[in-house]
Symmetry: C2
Subunit: 269 residues, 2 copies
């Protein structure tokens, strides 16, 4: 089912085939949980994605298999079907497979699909949650997704449907008072702003947080009316989280390392 080569000589029938889906947290490798660390330390094989810091792989035993299965330069190294098959084959060949995913595996990560497939193919399965960019991305830019007086809740979504169209829920969230947290949305920013403008919310504040928690973290703020142009001029890019809502106006500016502004010229405000 998949076209990789497997060092079958190390096959060990005493090992129980097992998949542990682990949330790696975002960017900063210290945002891994203690439980995730333990799982990595016991791994026989680690399959990891593009948004996972490779420093995390050092926690796995020296003889554990390490396989990159993410996207590079926008191109997938493996299809989802290939990843599913790899997980099952690795578990049968080596034992404990840690599937390391950026953020939390159940937030747009296709983690549940991998667990179901693994279970159907005889693996024991487990899940260790992670710090999600949906909450920590805004947070590390000084923006709380909920705030008394400003937000009673937050709605997390991607900007596109599976077929690349604008997610129709963008129009719905624009009609509510929920904080919108939009992942993988930069390419659709003009359409997102247009949806909010149609709901009469041109002055609502917007923030874009790129590379949250890493030394390359940048934050750009604006209004629905000007954020698309500002984003274009600033050159801000992916991976990024877009936050739309009053909570952006209550942003806490940073002094410390993990909360630092990284653009001293003030282009990002």
């Amino acid at each position: 089912m998949s076209d990789y080569s497997m060092p079958v000589s190390i096959f060990d029938p005493s090992k129980r085939p097992e998949l542990v889906l682990v949330g790696a947290g975002i960017g900063d490798p210290e945002l891994l949980t203690l439980k995730g660390l333990k799982a990595l330390q016991e791994a026989d094989a680690v399959l990891y994605d593009a948004l996972v810091d490779e420093a995390l792989l050092q926690h796995a035993p020296a003889d554990a298999i390490r396989l990159f299965v993410g996207k590079r330069r926008g191109k997938k190294s493996h299809t989802q079907e290939e990843i599913n098959a790899l997980i099952v084959d690795c578990a049968h060949a080596f034992g404990k497979v840690v599937r390391l995913k950026g953020g939390d595996p159940f937030v747009f990560g296709r983690g549940m699909e991998e667990l179901h497939y693994a279970r159907e193919h005889g693996l024991e399965v487990d899940y260790i949650p992670g710090v999600s960019s949906a909450i920590a991305g805004p947070g590390l830019a000084g923006i709380a997704v909920t705030l008394r007086g400003a937000s009673r809740g937050f709605w997390v979504m991607t900007a596109t449907t599976d077929t690349g169209e604008l997610n129709p829920e963008i129009f719905e969230v624009a009609r509510t008072n929920a904080t919108a947290v939009i992942l993988m949305g930069l390419a659709k920013l003009p359409e997102i702003a247009e949806a909010y403008a149609r709901s009469g919310k041109s002055e609502l504040p917007v923030a874009i947080v790129q590379n949250a928690s890493t030394p390359r973290q940048r934050t750009l703020t604006g209004r629905v009316s000007d954020i698309a142009e500002k984003a274009l001029l600033s050159g801000i890019g992916s991976p990024a989280v877009i936050i739309v809502g009053e909570v952006v106006d209550h942003r806490l500016r940073k002094q410390r390392t993990s909360l630092q502004e990284t653009n001293p010229e003030g282009q990002f405000t």
Copy 2:
């Protein structure tokens, strides 16, 4: 400003007054991040809430101050104003204050209010995100908040407003296809179900996850039409996360410790 006694004799003017807001994760103390662990290990004082496992306090130095500032038996030990003042006083007296909150501090945690107050009173501030019950609560019960074909996003909210009324966003989410993740909502379960029924969604699946990630984790599932009665009969209680949406039907049943069913009689399904 606050009515606690402070051992001022250990005042150390060389210490920089500092607040680090740390997300403790949910329940299981191993869901703390490596970064949160480091902050605890360097703490001069730890102020912690009710949903924080006291095992986490062992990570702090033996001579660090430990102060419980949460709710016990539904009663607050301190008002928010008292907690704010305690943070500032402790930081000036001892140095590095770690404010340990269940889940992530920016999800209904009033964490941002504490950071703003601390900053205004001369403290350096930092934030270390945590695993949130909004995502990990469903996840540890085998429910992914997003799933291809079933959910394009999830909307996290509390069930009540500051004044104890039903959050009007409950009616809004009931009209959308978003997965609803409702925190602190058990007492309002009949009203939540009624809101969904009014939107013609009586057959939509619902799950309630109590004490997620702890040995006392229990999961109850049903439909909008019967969940309130089932919850009453089962005796399920707080703390709990309510999930409403198609994703509940794609739930992965558990085999392993962290994903285990804890009611072998099958009352919880």
